[in-house]
């Protein structure tokens, strides 16, 4: 709709945290930051199919700051806390 170059990059996909996705939105995992978990989080997420270059989509968000449900890869649904999802950086896929 616009020729603004910044908007173009946005449409190509910008890097956001998994936590910020709305239900139905998806992205490609870029990196899982360690946060306070050292490599504990990234090792567990890798085993669940949530690691670099894999697709992830937001399924639902609990109320009152509760955990999120995301779908990793093809057939795995994962419940994850918001603070943990904050550490997963994804390149958002535009519809």
């Amino acid at each position: 709709m616009s020729n603004d170059p910044t908007l173009e990059t946005l449409r190509e996909g910008r890097i956001v945290s998994l936590e910020s996705l709305q239900p139905g939105e998806s992205g490609i995992v870029e990196i899982v930051e360690a946060g306070s978990f050292e490599n504990g989080l990234s090792v567990r997420l890798r085993a669940l199919g949530l690691s670099s270059t894999h697709q992830v989509s937001m399924v639902r968000r609990a109320w009152f700051g509760g955990p999120l449900v995301v779908r990793a890869g093809k057939a795995t649904e994962i419940a994850i806390r918001r603070t943990e999802a904050e550490l997963v950086k994804v390149r958002k896929i535009q519809d």
Partner: protein, 587 residues
């Protein structure tokens, strides 16, 4: 670790071929294990391994084989307690074969495990389980191509319905025959550490062998989750389901105690008393009031506990418990716990012991300890039986269920309060990420629920029986000596009197005090010991308590029983699982 020299190999030869079963959680590994072993599995201790593992000897194709069910793990290189257990096992005990169980629908990520096992140098057969689910998800798997890629036999099976199972077992047999004269192998973790497994490795292994549909078909789970995981109604729905479970246990389990009681009374009247009547009177007294009473008490709990385990197995197999963890995490994290602690607490309502063992899935020691701290507050089925007995004796029938419900509320409140207080301390700072797989909903089959429930029950009996028998014998001694004394003049009665200065202000009389002391061994002993203490049958004791104990005192007794100490088995489990004496004494 290298054990390849011929001299070692001979020493290390297993007397029967040993097959380790390995896989991620939610792959149906235990279901396959149950299918292979039937109900013949037992839990054994392995020196050098910190937890007990289930194993079984099975005759397959004219050969005796030993199957070991390793804990479900996500990663062979992980650091959770279960993951360490598996690594220690494979390093300490040589295996002849590894059966790798994979959820066929999730092969895109689970293919990692066969590749890792291959690096460990272990002979293996890969079982792609839940073939029926994969078909429903429109996933196509070419097992021959995949087998060639991985270099291991690959089979599509359904452990639940038996599809593909005969071929898979034949394949196990074939691999074992081919290496009949080869010594078993220790896992080579150095080789695994030196190999870097990238996403490309996984993708290359799968390309051309596994096809996922472009648009995955909408599953039943997605439709059901819209209701069951509803942000507002999800939690009330869960509590309604749990209420239903307790109602079933209550409605069927309690009358069943009467049926078992009728059987044990019959054995006592028709067999034990006539036979023992031939011997001296003290022997008859000892065997009947000392030992048989204990056995009969345990027996009367069997249907109730079995029913509870069946219900919990069904709820768990359905895939609902992990969703409960998701629903409760919002609230549990505020008191330093996570959703899984809540699930364990729910399990604790059946029996604290398996719930304590269930905390092994937690990687963070502080989180585990805090969870173990609150589980003994769960009103277990043994305490339930005591409460039902006392409440039925003292309170009017209309108030009974409400009084009982109030104890469940107190049980939760005490647990949450304890967690809220202790989570302030640095020692219990939770450092574990909350990441939990939500498996698809699965219809539990009767066979599966039976095998699980029966296995749990057998474990419960194994742990409980000794304590209860020793406990009732102890009660018998304390209440039968000095000879000729009865009631409060016995050693036991005097012990109760001795504690009166403490117990009288909270309205608990010496008889009930004594019952509480024995309740430390096992709550199951409390009712039995009341019969012995009052020297009356259970029915008369109920009547006597109804006449002599006020509702307030009865409530106080139950409250004390709920909160003072868990049973000895629970205490022993807390000690074993936390590996610390200090922590055991703490709660």
């Amino acid at each position: 670790m290298s054990h390849c020299s011929p001299a070692d190999a001979n020493l290390d030869r297993n007397d029967v071929p040993r097959i380790a079963m390995i896989g991620q959680p939610n792959t149906g590994k235990s279901m396959l294990y149950n299918r292979i072993t039937g109900a013949s599995a037992y839990v054994g201790n392995w020196p050098g391994i910190t937890v007990s593992l289930s194993n079984a000897r099975v005759n397959l194709g004219g050969r005796t084989l030993e199957f070991v069910d390793l804990p479900g793990i996500y990663d062979l290189e992980g650091f959770s307690e279960d993951e360490t257990v598996v690594a220690n096992f494979l390093k300490t005990y040589p295996v002849d074969l590894v059966v790798i169980v994979i959820n066929a629908s999730q092969i895109d990520r689970q293919i990692l495990m066969p590749l890792q096992i291959k690096q460990l140098g272990l002979p293996a057969v890969v079982m792609l389980n839940m073939a029926d689910e994969a078909r429903k998800n429109a996933i196509e798997i070419d097992t021959e191509t995949l087998s060639a890629r991985v270099g291991l036999p690959v089979h599509l099976i359904s452990a639940k319905y038996g599809e593909g199972y005969p071929d898979a077992i034949a394949s196990v047999d074939k691999v074992l025959s081919a290496r009949a004269d080869t010594p078993p192998i220790y896992a080579d973790y150095d080789a695994l550490r030196e190999t870097l497994m990238t996403e490309e490795t996984l993708a290359e292994t799968l390309s051309g062998a596994v096809f996922y549909p472009e648009i995955p078909p909408q599953t039943i789970a997605q439709k059901l989750d819209r209701f069951l995981l509803h942000p507002v109604f999800g939690l009330p729905l869960f509590f309604a389901v749990m209420l239903l479970v307790f109602y079933i246990v209550w409605a069927i389990g309690l009358p069943s105690q009467g049926w078992v009681g009728a059987i044990t009374d019959w054995i006592q009247n028709r067999i034990l008393e006539p036979v023992l009547g031939l011997g001296p009177a003290w022997l008859q007294n000892f065997v009947i009031n000392g030992i048989w009473l204990g056995v009969a008490t345990v027996a009367s709990f069997v249907p109730l506990i079995m029913l509870f385990f069946f219900c919990m197995a069904a709820v768990e197999d359905l895939g609902y418990l992990s969703r409960a963890a998701y629903l409760m995490d919002t609230w549990m994290r505020r008191i330093g716990l996570d959703g899984r602690s809540f699930v364990m607490q729910m399990m604790g309502f059946g029996c604290n012991v398996p719930a304590l063992m269930g905390t092994r899935v937690m990687r963070s020691q502080p989180l585990r300890l805090l969870s173990m701290l609150i589980i003994p507050f769960s009103l277990c089925s043994a305490r339930l039986a005591v409460f039902v007995f006392i409440i039925a004796a003292v309170f009017p029938p209309a108030q009974g269920p409400l009084v009982l419900f109030s104890f469940y509320v107190i049980s939760f409140a005490a647990a949450f309060l304890a967690a809220a207080i202790f989570s302030r301390s640095k020692q219990f700072k939770n450092t574990e990420p909350f990441v939990l797989e939500l498996p698809p909903y699965r219809v539990p089959t009767l066979r599966q629920v039976w095998l699980r429930g029966y296995g749990e029950l057998r474990e419960f009996l194994r742990r409980a029986t000794n304590f209860i028998i020793i406990g009732t014998i102890a009660v018998w001694f304390l209440t039968n000596f000095p000879t000729n004394a009865t009631g409060l003049d016995t050693w036991g009665g005097q012990l109760g009197e001795l504690l009166q200065p403490v117990m009288a202000p909270i309205g608990i009389n010496p008889y009930l005090t004594l019952a509480l002391i024995f309740g430390f061994i096992a709550k199951e002993v409390v009712i039995g010991s009341l019969s012995t203490i009052y020297a009356m049958s259970a029915g008369l004791v109920a009547h006597q308590i109804g006449l002599t104990v006020s509702p307030a005192a009865a409530y106080s007794f139950c409250l004390f029983c709920l909160l003072y100490t868990p049973c000895l088995t629970t205490v022993a489990t807390v000690k074993a699982e936390s590996r610390s004496w200090g922590f055991m004494i703490f709660p």
